[in-house]
Amino acid sequence: MKTSNTNILKKLGLSAAAAVLSVSLAMPAFAAQSVNLDQLLQLVRQGEAQDRSENQQRLAEFRANRNQQANLLKQVQSQQAAAEAESNRLNRQFEVNDQEIIDLNQKLDERLGDLKELFGVLQQAAGDTKANFDSSITSPQFPEREAYMADIMTKMGQTSKFASMSEIEQLWAEMMNEMIQSGKVAKFTAPVTLTDGSTQDKTVTRFGTFNVVADGKYLKMSNDRTNYIELPRQPQSRFSSKVGGAESASSGLSPLAVDITRGGILETYTKRPTLIEKVKEGKEVGYVIIGLGIIGVLLAIWRFLALMGTSAAVSRQVKNTDKPGNNPLGRVLKVYKESDDANTETLELRLSEAVLKETPKLNRMLSFLKIIAVVAPLLGLLGTVTGMINTFQAIQLYGTGDPKLMAGGISQALVTTVLGLCVAIPMVFLHSIVASKAKGVSEVITQQAAGMIAERAEQTS
């Protein structure tokens, strides 16, 4: 212990010296501080002497242990021999067992005979039936069927267990039951998950294997086949309105929209956008069009009512030319009244001036209505084109792998065109109605006012 310690210390000293030496070699500037070389030599020599003595010590130890080593070797060899013997024995055992397995399998085959084929067919039939049951909406009605099918499938999958006779017969019975149920309208109680997430037990009506309804709403089967889920969105009212009647009917015939794809079509209907959602697909352009449409309709109504009032007043005035009232014709007549003494030329000038004053009031906002009728389809086209550009950009990014993407984009883009036309058509119509009203009134004052005045003048003179 002590010797080794001192040894370590010496070594440390040596290495330190070596380090210092290397430093002094690398930096001759510090040569003055270098360790004395004689001392270093002495240290090296001391180390050599130390190593030599250690080696001799090790040799002595080894010689002492040599006899013991021989004993150990003998022990290990005997162990190896025993293990080899055991291995041989097990090998022989294995061969015997192998043979036995082959014999037993042969026996099993002989005894199974035709049954082997039967089980193959049974397994296939059970697999097919399970697949059928899994997609069939009758599953929540017969919850025990699920467990039985799982059990028989595991049995079929193993070779160690066979299905019993009664189980095999039950499979047949279940298939028969499914067949019978597919032709029945059945009422039963089952858990139904509503659209708000709560689950309640409800009386549901199942129409064959096609549709399940409850409370006048279509349901679908949950993924774990234990309950029904109300569809997040019912199909259009012309389909879903008949459900209630068919549900409450106890006998006879009642109409019902049946989804023959067993829920596939209903599923697509839940993805169809409603009218509001469709309008929202029009985005900003759509809103602008709708805003224009609302403004246009309000303007048209206002102008129409105003012109109705005016034309009624004018026609009253036509019957009574003596008292000019506050309406376009009345104001024209007033001009005549105020210029009694004027000659016909002055009168005509004044009259035409009065008429000129009146006509712009009648034609107010008409051009704006016309503009809306023209601009709305153009805006719709703009929305459609931008939508198309977006669609094609998406295709450029993601490729044409998915036609759904493209078709969906196009149908969204077309919404603005529809909105534009929906606004333009009524606007054209309203414009023409209002314009013809305005034209009628203005014709009365431009072409007939002078005539009335002339007639009156002749009567009075």
């Binding site: 016909t344 036609p403 078709a407 149908s411 036309l421 054209v428 002078a450």
Partner: protein, 148 residues
Amino acid sequence: MWACIFERMFYLTSVHPKNVKAAMDHWNAREDHGSWYAHQVRERMISVVSQGLDKRVEIIQTCVALCPLLGLLGTVTGMIEVFSSMSDTGAGSARTMASGVAKATVPTMAGMVAAISGVAVAAYFKRKAAAEREELGEHLELADWEGH
């Protein structure tokens, strides 16, 4: 539209001649056929009669303009149906899509047919109104007048 057209035909054949006759009687009853007053009265009578002629022609023309628009609306909604069902079912075969598009174009065709049938009639009424107006003007003869 065609209701308006038939109404106009009836008007032209039965009501309008009566109006013309009434106007002519009124004119012939007058002694003065030459003064400024007479001119204005004549103008007014012609205007009243021609107003009756022009009634609803405007509506017919509007219908002519609207028919193709309505047809287009039908087509576009049909197209939306086609494309949204395509996006539901995925890669619909070109055949089903083509048949959908073909069905969707029917309204446009119907609109065009309706419009074309109306165009000729509307133009005829417009011409007729102008001609009748001229004729009435000729019927109501004016005497010379030094004022103009």
